[in-house]
Symmetry: C2
Subunit: 162 residues, 2 copies
């Protein structure tokens, strides 16, 4: 296999893993009604609605980290990244669902548009100087780590009885 195709296949595999996991999350949350979304994943732990908002905020940060555009909903950070669940009032289910869809669509469009060599360039939270020393802090690593982050919370969400 030519070396250039090698990189393209590796990246295609990682994107497939991301999309499969995101799709699983999308279907999981879409199939739950409002009452179900207010269940905790375990006694005293995060509610599903909080996890959906948390994932939306994290993925919105990815849009900026991968350099696609400005963030869609930075106002979610205070509720879903800085505060734990039940500390502040949450936006409506409808509002969170709508942000989730918007962020997912924007993120996947950006992901589909990146070239092989784009994936090897630094993400926006690392300086050029640091990146010269640590070349693994590239966009590709963001894709991998966020797929893992999503799996981490989907594992928790799967504990809820439907």
């Amino acid at each position: 296999m030519p070396n250039e195709s090698q990189s393209a296949v590796l990246i295609a595999g990682a994107i497939a893993g991301w999309k499969t996991t995101l799709d699983k999350a999308d279907k999981f949350f879409a199939n739950l009604d409002e009452v179900a979304l207010y269940q905790e994943v375990a006694p005293g732990r995060n509610r599903l609605i909080y996890l959906l908002g948390h994932l939306t905020a994290m993925h919105d940060r990815m849009i900026a980290l991968l350099g696609f555009s400005d963030r869609v909903c930075p106002e979610l950070d205070e509720v879903f990244l800085t505060s734990p669940d039940k500390a502040v009032e949450l936006p409506s289910v409808e509002a969170i669902r709508s942000r989730w869809s918007e962020v997912s669509t924007k993120l996947n469009s950006g992901i589909d548009a990146l070239s092989t060599s784009d994936w090897l360039t630094r993400h926006t939270a690392v300086s050029e100087e640091d990146f010269a020393r640590e070349p693994l802090r590239n966009r590709f690593s963001i894709l991998l780590s966020r797929t893992n982050h999503l799996s981490h919370h989907l594992g928790q969400a799967a504990l809820v009885r439907k």
Copy 2:
């Protein structure tokens, strides 16, 4: 960046993600005593000791899937892959911990020894014919999907109060 180095950097990023996650799991389980390991992650759900055995069996299967060697402990499948928790008697904590270490060491030695082009070759559960049509069913995709699988269960394990 030369195209050959591109693939090497992508693979190094994925291996770093795997090792970070495996290390997290290793520390998590090592820090729990026997009583703690018998806790359920949520009411009526898997116990931590079952998760440790389940991950050991899955990672042991990886050793064969990646073509490194014969499996270390195929006898764990019946307990931790085919049967749900509490259906059959579990091996001792000591035995499971020892298998976990053995499997992790063997797996990581194999991972460290693979060349860039090795990662692009098929895993042992896909035929040459199918692989010709589906080139993403390579060893690299096994590494990514098993890192996600590990994150999925670590997310659940993290719900237990220490």
